[in-house]
Structure formats: C-alpha cells, structure tokens
C-alpha cells in the first residue's frame, strides 16, 4: 500500500508541480482549438459537446488524475470514463495534449483504419478506459471499476463524465442505486449539464430537473459547480468525496459550444461541422482566449 502511495505521488502529469489556473486555462483553449481543427479535417464530430466539457477534461488530466502516458495500463492508475462517447473528439485532443497519443494522429480522426473511431475504443487508443457510444454505459462500468479497486485495496479513483441528456437512459439509475448501496466514495460522476441534447433542450425533451435532488435522493453526495471555472473545478475535486461513504455527483453547469460565441448554447452545433470561414472565426476567438 505504501509503495502504491509513493508511486502515485511521483506520477501526475504536472510532474508534481501544480500548474497554475492560468496555465490550465491556456491548455483548455489549445485543446479547443485542436478540436475545431480536427473536426474541420475530419468533416465530422460533435463539436458542441466537445467544447462544453473541455475545461473539465483539462482539470482532470492536468491537475487531478494520477495517470501516466508512459504506462497507460499501470494497475494503480485512476480511471476516467467518458460516458458521452460521441464527444470522443475532446477526449482524443486531451489525450494528445497529455501525451497519450501523438498530436499528428488527430488528423486521422474518423478516417478509414484510424484508431480514432467516432466513439472511443479502449483496445485501440491508449488512455481510453471504456468503449462508449451508446449512452448510459459509463456509470455501470465505473461502479465495477470502483468495486474492483476496493476489492484489491487500491486507492485508485474512478471518475466518469456523463452528458445530461444521457441521464434519460435507465441504466444510469440502476448504477446510481448500486454506487450508493455499495458506499463507493472512490467514485465520482461529473454531469456535463449544458442543458441541450441532440434535438432540443433537455427540459423540453424529457425533463431532468430537479437534478441535484434526484441524486441526493439516490444517496449521493452532490455538489454543483460552474463547469468552465477552473479554480472552482479544482476546489471541488480537492474535497472528494464531498460526503464520506457516498459517491460524489458533480453537476457541472456548462454551455454547449463554450469558447466560440456563435456556437454557445446553440442546439444546432451538436454535430454541425464548421465551414472554413466559421472555423477561422472560432479559432480567432479561441486564440484570443488562450493569451
């Protein structure tokens, strides 16, 4: 156990030195820019949901998760599962920024025989922990991973990121019950609460509110946070679990298309591909925010 702890403190993508909030902000802006360029190259992708969760991914990979790109299968690593697998673009660009895959490979996104499928594949891409795509799969798998960590007395933590719309899938609530029943306080669920699903607002399509109350009723520790505010995200993660003996649900209030003014909160940007002109404007805005 001590050995495991020592190893973990030596790992961490920031090399043990904490990156500043400002550095994280710039990393996030760069990941967004890379995502826009990648989607332009591929001619496909889910840009709106990629941009809404980029700050969360950045904070996780660059200041929280104990993972090692040199040893993606290290048994004591923390596990991150992207349940909203259609946002694979943001995961790939983050994994590239974190050194799990080469930046150049991002240009193969969704091309024939590329490892970078439209939805992530754990057998193809280092750093990917679960095959997702159909919604409502991430949380049950995460419950199993958290149970496995407990069984082998590992301190590895499991973090899963779900879209808000996908909470309409019943499997999530089966897993929600189980996580609380098994008192998995080594498990954290982020909800990317951007309020929009493919065709319309979640509340118009199939209402999720009152969302925090639902998770509290399922006996989870619940905290709400601005999903684009890096210091707040870091503060919340530093306090895990928010309630001892309970899994934590972090409802991250976000905006679909965050970082690009004409995409922000616009449902049509769920999976629209920007034109060359739109991409140029988007990159300009993101470039400015990266400074």
């Amino acid at each position: 156990m001590t050995d495991a702890l020592d190893k973990r403190s030596a790992i961490g993508l920031d090399g043990g030195e904490r990156l500043s909030d400002d550095q994280l902000r710039r990393i996030a802006a760069n990941i967004r820019m890379r995502d826009v360029r990648m989607i332009r190259t591929a001619g496909a992708g889910h840009i709106g949901g990629d941009l809404s969760m980029t700050d969360i991914l950045t904070v996780l990979y660059f200041s929280f998760l104990r993972v090692d790109p040199a040893r993606p299968d290290w048994s004591e690593r923390d596990r991150f599962i992207l349940s909203k697998g259609h946002a694979a673009g943001a995961l790939y660009t983050t994994l590239a920024a974190a050194g799990f895959i080469d930046d150049a490979e991002l240009d193969t996104f969704m091309r024939p025989e590329s490892r970078l499928n439209g939805h992530p594949s754990l057998r193809l891409v280092p750093g990917v922990e679960a095959n997702t795509g159909p919604l409502g799969h991430g949380l049950p798998i995460a419950v199993g991973m958290a149970l496995a960590a407990r069984l082998r007395q590992s301190l590895a933590r499991t973090v899963v990121l779900a879209g808000d719309g996908e909470l309409q899938e019943g499997s999530n609530w089966e897993a929600a019950m189980a996580a609380a029943h098994f008192e998995l306080d080594n498990l954290t669920l982020f909800i990317d609460r951007n309020g929009l699903q493919q065709g319309a607002a979640t509340e118009k399509t199939m209402a999720l509110d009152p969302l925090p109350e639902k998770w509290r009723a399922f006996r989870w520790g619940v905290v709400e946070v601005d999903g684009h505010d890096i210091p707040s995200l870091r503060r919340v993660l530093a306090q895990l679990p928010v309630e001892a003996g309970k899994p934590t649900c972090i409802i991250a209030h976000t905006h679909k298309g965050q970082g690009v003014s004409f995409m922000r909160d616009k449902v049509e940007w769920h999976h629209r591909v920007p034109t060359a002109e739109e991409a140029a404007v988007a990159l300009q805005e993101l470039e400015a925010s990266a400074r």
Partner: protein, 314 residues
C-alpha cells in the same frame, strides 16, 4: 433408472473451488442467489459476491468494470433477462471491449416451462453467437458444466455459459476434457448425424438408440460450443453420413442449427433438419411437455431422422 443431475450444483461447486484458488474470481448476481445456487459462494466469500439487485444492464456493466480492474467476474442471472435485457451491454461492454467477463445464463431454453414465453430463453444463441470475441457454450451434463466453468475461468476473454435447471443424466465420463470450439463425438455412426447440445444431448443419444432398432446407424455429436463452431466436425459429419439433424432448445432460426447449416452450405451441402421451436412463442406447458410438443424428445428426434433418411435414401 438413470440418475439425473441439476447442472447448477456442479456450476456452483466448481465456482467455489475456483474462488478458493484464485482471489480474482468474483460473482455478480441479480437477486438470483437462490436460482443461481450461489448460497455457498456467498457464505464463503461474502465480499466477492456482488448482488446488484434486479438490474441486468447494470449487472453486465459492473462485471465489465470489475474485469477491467483485474477481477474475473461471473455475472449470473436468468438467461432470458441476462441476454434479452442486457444485450447491448453484452455487445459493447463485454464482447467489443474484450473484457474478461463470464456471463452465466441460468435456467435457459424452455426450462421455465409454464411460466411462459417471457421466461423462455430460446433466442439467446442467435443473439450471442453473432458477437465477435464471445465464446458461447451450452454444457450437456454436470461433468461438462464443471469443465466449462473451469475453462471459462482459464480463458482470457468473454464467455457466455448457457446453463439449464432441467435435470439431466451424465453423458460424459469423468475423464472427458472439454475444449472450446470442439464438438464431442458421443456415438459413432454412418447413416446420419444427430448434433445436439445442452439438455438435449441425452435425448439425442436416446434417439440414436431408437434409430439403431430401425437399422439406422446414427452418429451423435455434442456441439456444446456454438461459437466458435466446430466446422471440421460438421464437415466430416456431412461428408461421412450425408444427413444431419440438429437438436436444440432454441428457436429454429438463428441458433446452433443455423450455425451448423452455415458450415454445411459452404463445405459439403447435405440435407438437414433443424429441430427446435418453430418460430412461435411457446404455449403453456411444463418444460418436459414443451420438449415433447416440439419434437425435442427421443421419439420426436427419431421421427425427424427417419423422415430425413427416407426422403434422402441413397
């Protein structure tokens, strides 16, 4: 009177032995401790029996996560609900992910009898055998069940074990060694081959005996593994006996018989009969009654074989 055995006993006993020897072995159950015969496992390894309640989708997802974390999970639930309710999890979380999950479908086939079509699992071969990476196996007796459980634990990859609750006689000797993807020759014969699996193997053997009385020499193969299928044994049966009858506790469409036919048409086409449930939801009746109703008892198998021989006299 031949002794009859409930294969769930052999399953549970073998699982306890495996768990004693390997702490990675865990069970995930869906409020099915009793019907899966897991009481003893639960007594001996309370921390390693994870009961997720009545929630098959979560059951399979949790098992995938456990496998990802280094465990060897046996995910146990009634076969109709495990394969029907959680098919997408079986496809994505287990087969596509190539996770080391052992799916155990209990009380498969027509075993639930008069509980009705909601509880019959006669679609599961079709649903599971098309999934890449997934070994699909239906043992015939306690000896083969025990071997299948051990082999599943040794195999580094996904397995679907299709178990029954119907009592069966032993068809294998204790020195029998099951291998995935290899049919077992239980009786030599030259005129026709009967290919069965699960609880119907003993009935196929009985039918072969009845056929011998009619002067027909029937080969009997136990096709326990439905995927990957033993193409060599099927091709040899087609070449050497010229006629094949398949017998399974499943819909006639898409199951083991279809898998056999796929091999027959591309290797050595011969006349075939595929015995099973003929594309209907079963009427009310006990499991034994239903087997007879669908011609899946020894008499029914004999009759189908005789018909095939007469229609295709050489």
């Amino acid at each position: 009177m031949t002794d009859l055995f409930d294969c769930r006993v052999a399953f549970a006993k073998t699982l306890v032995e495996l768990a004693s020897a390997d702490e990675r072995v865990v069970v995930v159950a869906s409020d099915s401790i009793g019907s899966s015969n897991l009481k003893e496992f639960s007594n001996q390894f309370p921390d390693r029996l994870i009961n997720v309640g009545i929630a098959e989708q979560n059951l399979v997802g949790v098992a995938a996560g456990l496998a990802s974390g280094g465990c060897v999970p046996f995910a146990c639930a009634p076969a109709p609900f495990l394969t029907g309710r959680a098919l997408e999890q079986i496809k994505v979380d287990v087969a596509y992910s190539r996770h080391n999950v052992k799916l155990v479908g209990m009380s498969s086939g027509l075993a639930y009898g008069a509980l009705g079509p909601t509880h019959h699992s006669i679609e599961d071969f079709a649903w599971t055998r098309v999934l890449p990476n997934l070994v699909v196996i239906a043992p015939a007796d306690p000896i083969e069940t025990s071997q299948a459980v051990k082999l599943a634990a040794e195999h580094d990859g996904p397995v679907f074990l299709r178990l029954s609750r119907m009592a069966v006689p032993a068809v294998h000797t204790p020195d029998y060694r099951l291998r995935f993807g290899e049919a077992a020759l239980l009786r030599a014969g030259e005129d026709i081959t009967l290919i069965a699996n699960g609880v119907l193997v003993s009935r196929a053997l009985d039918a072969a005996e009845l056929l011998a009385a009619e002067g027909i020499s029937a080969r009997v193969l136990n096709m326990a593994t439905v995927s990957p299928i033993d193409a060599a044994a099927i091709e040899a049966a087609a070449r050497e006996t010229g006629r094949i009858v398949t017998i399974e506790e499943h819909q006639v469409n898409g199951g083991m018989g279809s898998a056999v036919a796929e091999v027959v048409v591309r290797t050595h086409p011969v006349p075939m009969r595929i015995l099973g449930v003929p594309g209907i939801f079963a009427p009310t009746g006990s499991a034994q009654w239903l087997l007879k109703r669908f011609g899946l008892d020894a008499d029914g198998i004999r009759d189908a074989a005789l018909e095939l021989v007469r229609e295709n006299a050489t």
